[in-house]
């Protein structure tokens, strides 16, 4: 029987070993929605980061030091995110927090980050206003693909390039960011001389999208644009098709988009995205597929955002060197350019005046019915982020 003194010794040794390991490694803290309403998106981001750094550690770490990612589940609940952030910032070894959850969790995370000077990387969710130029918060950085206003302007321009006199219907989810972006799309489309027949906004839990689709169809839309969580986009499109609508639907390409294009197989369903699809077959995509095989419960095509975040973090840690502290890491992130090797159309470049990126690159994908495959409808097009 093990004596109490032996147990205590083991506990003390365990604590010592754990502290030593932590002090010898780059410690990052991820607060993400792993079991909440955004788990399908945020969970995949978290998996991408985890799998990436597992490989980094297997191959010797960064600057000879391993990367330890502490993961906590906030279920996209602000109170849980606050607890996670407090726990992380009070861990003296922790260098940076990663947030992968809905924007409702950002406020407490940002507040804790400022209290203890911990840099925060927003990965997978929308980027907060504080990362955009010209005066980004010195501690906040973002790798997510979204940029609502720029996104919808690109989509409107694309529609106009395909059909000059399109009649445009708009659908958003009844949440501020989605509604706001679609309102901007409406204004922009009108300014470009397009006919806009209205803006439908479906509540997050909607039992039946047909009434919204009916209004869009009866309004005479031949194009519908959506910038919303995937569920709203795809369910509205499918409801429109059930009503016999023959038009084109363009939606923002979330991480599920590639699998969904393959499922829907409809040439009239288009996605515009800042992430390249695995169907591009770039070496980096093959690399992700090989590395993540069997290590995630999500389709590997969902890991793009997480991979981008991890590649950026690896570059930042490499640049920060060793030994490193929070301020040194934030300073290293302030002037960083990361080649994403085809995961996106261009690099992520952070400067003192821009913690988002200077250029956004968009691609439009659709379904090639004849070839039974995803095809690129418009190649990378860059837009300046102002």
């Amino acid at each position: 029987m093990i004596k109490r003194s032996q147990l205590m010794l083991a506990a003390v040794l365990g604590a010592f070993v754990s502290t030593t390991l932590a002090a010898d490694s780059y410690v990052l803290g991820l607060t993400g929605d792993l079991t909440g309403r955004d788990a399908a998106n945020s969970g995949a981001v978290a998996d991408g980061i985890r799998i990436y750094f597992e490989r980094v550690n297997r191959t010797g770490g960064i600057n000879g030091h391993k990367v330890e990612v502490l993961v906590r589940d906030n279920q996209s609940e602000p109170s849980r995110a606050a607890t996670d952030a407090q726990t992380f910032v009070n861990n003296e070894d922790l260098l940076l927090m990663i947030t992968a959850s809905l924007s409702s969790t950002y406020a407490p995370t940002i507040s804790e980050s400022k209290r203890k000077g911990v840099p925060v990387l927003f990965a997978g969710g929308v980027c907060p206003r504080e990362v955009f130029p010209p005066k980004p918060d010195p501690l906040l950085f973002c790798t997510s693909g979204y940029a609502a206003e720029t996104d919808v302007k690109f989509a409107v321009d694309y529609i106009q390039s395909v059909q000059k006199n399109a009649t445009l219907g708009l659908i958003s989810m009844a949440i501020p960011i989605s509604r706001g972006s679609i309102d901007q799309a409406a204004e922009y489309a009108k300014s470009k001389g397009m006919k806009v027949i209205g803006h439908e906004s479906a509540p997050p839990p909607t039992a039946n999208y047909t009434p919204y689709a009916t209004k869009l169809k009866e309004g005479g839309a031949d194009w519908v644009l959506s910038w919303a969580p995937w569920v709203t986009q795809v369910k509205t499109f499918e409801a429109l098709r059930q009503l016999g609508w023959k038009g084109n639907f363009i939606s923002y390409g979330h991480n599920v988009a590639e699998e969904e294009l393959k499922r829907i197989k409809d040439p009239g369903f288009l996605v515009f995205t800042t992430n390249g699809m695995f169907s591009d077959g770039q070496p980096v995509h093959k690399d992700v597929l090989a590395t993540a095989e069997g290590k995630t419960k999500f389709p590997i095509t969902y890991l793009n955002e997480g991979w981008v975040a991890a590649m950026t973090l690896e570059a930042a840690l490499k640049k920060a060197g060793w030994p490193v502290n929070r301020a040194k890491l934030a300073s290293a992130m302030d002037g960083l350019s990361v080649d994403l090797r085809g995961l996106r159309g261009g690099p992520i470049t952070w400067t003192k005046t821009n913690h988002y990126r200077e250029q956004l690159y968009y691609r439009v994908y659709g379904w090639d019915a004849a070839g039974n495959r995803i095809k690129t409808l418009k190649d990378w097009t860059s837009r300046e982020v102002k």
Binding site: A40, S201, P211, K235
Partner: protein
Amino acid sequence: MQTVANIAVLVAIYALIGSGYVLIYRVSRVLNLAQGELMMLVAYLLFSLATLFGGHPASALAGAVLLSLLVGLVLYVVLMRRMTGELVIAAVLVTIALGILLRGLMVLVWTGQMARPLEKLGWQNSPLALGHGVALSSVAVTTIFVAIAIYVGLFVFFRYTAWGVRMRAVGENPLLAAQRGIKLHVAYAMAWALATFSGGCAGMLLALDSGLDGTMAIIGLKAFPVVLVGGLDSLRGAIVGALIVASAEVLAIQLIDPLVSDVVPFVVLIAMLAVRPWGLFGTEEDIQRV
């Protein structure tokens, strides 16, 4: 005409979900606030069975229906039975906790990704042209027929079968019913099984029509005003409540503003609570202050 068809589909969905609330409340006076999670669980069970028995859709559907009954039964036996004799509010709180637990478990098991049982079953949700320019998906049309069949079945069950009459007796006066030899726990367990089945049917049909994700549980709660408007212990009320709420919702989308549609059910609910707190067809009971 399309608007009428849209209302009919939403009425069917709300009526099916609402019947789950009513069945349990009517028999045991417990408000099951995990109804949304239970319908989602049954839909996920269908998805798993469809994955397992992809080539045999009928087996998968039959299995899911049986499992829905079993889930309700097991929940009562394992969890809710222990709440017998406790304050009703305690039982309601248990259902809230149950809902939270189920939501977490479902994400752990099924990851929260969009699941599409229809494709696993190898079926197509083809549009059906119903004339006069009206079109609905085949699953939406099926939903209307399933709702009618289940309500007819429930009316027949409660009016003409021995156990239906016993369950009504338990709902009206459990003490007297027990003294007459009716096994209360069997009646309660049957109510839970039937409620999970009818709510589960709504979940399965929604999942077959447009996929399944974590928001389904909230749709369950959205149907709550339906039963409060109709009367918590009245199946007839659930139908009328569904008709009022669904019509208000669809007409708000069509004629006013889509954003209003989210608020309209609660406006109807507040109006009803102010005028007739027990609902259109509910039993007038003492309202206790909370």
